[in-house]
Amino acid sequence: MSKMISIKSIAHNYSGGSKISFDDWKIENGEKWLLLGNSGSGKTTLLHILSGILKPSLGQVEISQTAIYELSAKKLDQFRGRNIGIVFQRPHFIKSLTIAENLILAQSFAQLPKNLQRIDEVLASLNLTDKKNSYPNELSQGQLQRVSIARAVINKPLLLIADEPTSSLDDQNASAVLKLLLEQTDLNKATLIVATHDKRIKDAFTNIYQLT
């Protein structure tokens, strides 16, 4: 199996002047990792670096043999759109668009053709078919978090990143979301990284990257 993701000698200087460095990390295709750390330990920073949103001051990030920070800005945006799906702590959608349109948006920003069949398929797998033409403000938090999983996997990404996906949900919804994340990772043959300090979901993972 080829190395799916690797980070090497990554360090970042915050604009305030403080510095943070991260241990090297190698992730194989299809693995599911938990990224653990207390708040302020740099979890979000590392996730942003991994997802191509934040260029580190030092070091290299390779995803599927592509050194992503050596790409041009436009290519990097496109790479992220096609290959990386992100689920945020609080689901966020474009309020003026319906659920289906928000998913079409994800396809078109990744410069992929509009594929309604894929949208139906993903919504069905997350049990959201009847919400297709609803607007984001008509859905509950739990439903919205499911839609944000749908958006993250709509383009069949190589890497699925979730930042505290369960911390604002109750027990029932949290375990449902976790289950869906794992399911969708397998379904789309992706690799999963979940950053959390939520003790409820730790047991589901065997691979853990601990921030200090």
Partner: protein
């Protein structure tokens, strides 16, 4: 999903503030459209009516009044001039053609003009039915007069003394309609034409056969050569008791008088447009603060910085272009409405005329849209998405 559609959906999700911006822009554009249409049409009509007349000679008084009464039939005449003196001028070598006018009567507010056959060739008149006036008390009427007063060839009517009132009827003599003019697109559409002698007859001048006692109102003069421009008006003003007035000069003077009002309104409209631009700017700037997270999400989904820039610019441009279109339509409707309520039929305005200059209004709308959205768009372009996402 194209940036245009994203921008449109975003505007549609805030209908109130979008509508306010569109309304502001459309008011500004509407006023500009009205000014543009009205001044072009009035100028066109004025020029159309005076195009072949080089000079008007009449009694001393305001030259503008002389022009208004003798060419546009709006104001009162300055007075009468002796026919004898007029005759001398008509045979002056500088003059190619001179048309005598005798005003003073009306029919239901329509002016009755006593003149001779030179008037026909001056305006290039044609009849659509009947013939031109010839004998005394025969009248040829303009096409609008026939329509509005329901007059046909063979009908008779009584003239009334004065230019507007309908009280002092000349009951003893009735005019007979002998012809109706074809539409001319100028002032003659709204006149009743008859012979000079008919007008004199109305006022009981028939006793004198010699021209000494007779008077007319004014003379319309066409020059024989451009040389006349320099010599003839001075000659009239110095050598006779009459005054001459040039239609070209007087309409320029008139326009410079009206121009002050037009300029003021124009600046007012520009001010409204400016306020509208600021309103669009504030709207986009504020919504950008709320939407910074939206835009960051779009970036994580693969949208490039340029795309976000485009989305924000398009929102501004959509608002202002929509407002401009609406404003132009409103302006045309307003002009048509004004035209319908206009009393003076001499310069009736029409809203269904489009002029090339309106294209500049669209360009202006586009420019205002870009001007108002460029700063928010640059902010969207430069936004640090990692910071925005981390804050939430």
């Amino acid at each position: 999903m194209s940036p245009l559609k994203i921008s449109w959906k975003s505007l549609a999700s805030k209908p109130l503030s979008s509508a306010l911006n569109v309304l502001l822009i459309s008011f500004g554009t509407g006023i500009l459209t009205i000014l543009l249409l009205a001044s072009t049409q009035i100028e066109e009509k004025l020029n159309n009516n005076s195009k072949d007349i080089d000079l008007v000679v009449g009694a001393k008084g305001s030259p503008l009044q002389l022009i208004l009464s003798s060419i546009y039939y709006i104001d009162f005449p300055t007075g009468n001039i002796p026919l004898k003196e007029a005759n001398e001028l008509m045979h002056n070598p500088f003059v190619k053609r001179a048309v005598p006018l005798s005003l003073g009567d009306n029919y239901n507010g329509i002016r009755i003009v006593g003149t001779d056959s030179n008037y026909i060739s001056l305006y290039g008149l044609k009849t659509q039915s009947g013939k031109f006036w010839n004998a005394d008390l025969e009248a040829t009427i303009g096409t609008n007069v026939a329509k509005e007063q329901n007059l046909k060839v063979g009908d008779t009517f009584f003239g009334a003394h004065g230019l507007t009132e309908n009280k002092d009827l000349h009951k003893e003599h009735a005019y007979k309609v002998v012809g109706i003019l074809a539409p001319q697109g100028n002032v003659t559409d709204n006149l009743i034409l008859t012979s000079l002698t008919s007008v004199w007859k109305m006022h009981g001048d028939e006793a004198h056969d010699e021209p000494e006692g007779k008077e007319i109102t004014s003379l319309l003069i066409q020059y024989r050569s451009p040389m006349s421009v320099a010599m003839f008006p001075r000659m009239v003003n110095q050598m006779t008791s009459l005054q001459s007035a040039s239609p070209a000069m007087e309409s320029t003077r008139l326009f410079s008088l009206i121009g002050v009002g037009v300029d003021t309104l124009q600046w007012f409209a520009v001010l409204i447009m400016f306020i509208a631009a600021i309103s669009v700017f504030v709207n986009l700037y504020n919504s950008l603060k709320e939407r910074s997270y939206d835009l960051a999400i779009m970036r994580t989904l693969g949208a490039s910085k340029t795309k976000l820039f485009l989305i924000v610019i398009l929102e501004g441009v959509l608002l202002t272009l929509l407002g401009t279109f609406l404003g132009i339509i409103l302006g045309h409707l307003a002009i048509e409405l004004i035209g319908n309520y206009q009393e003076s039929s001499q310069a009736k305005l029409s809203g269904f005329v489009f002029i090339a200059n309106e294209i500049y209004l669209l360009f202006a709308g586009l420019a205002i849209g870009i001007f108002a959205s460029i700063i928010p768009a640059i902010q969207a372009y430069k936004a640090n998405i990692s910071e925005i996402l981390a804050k939430n």
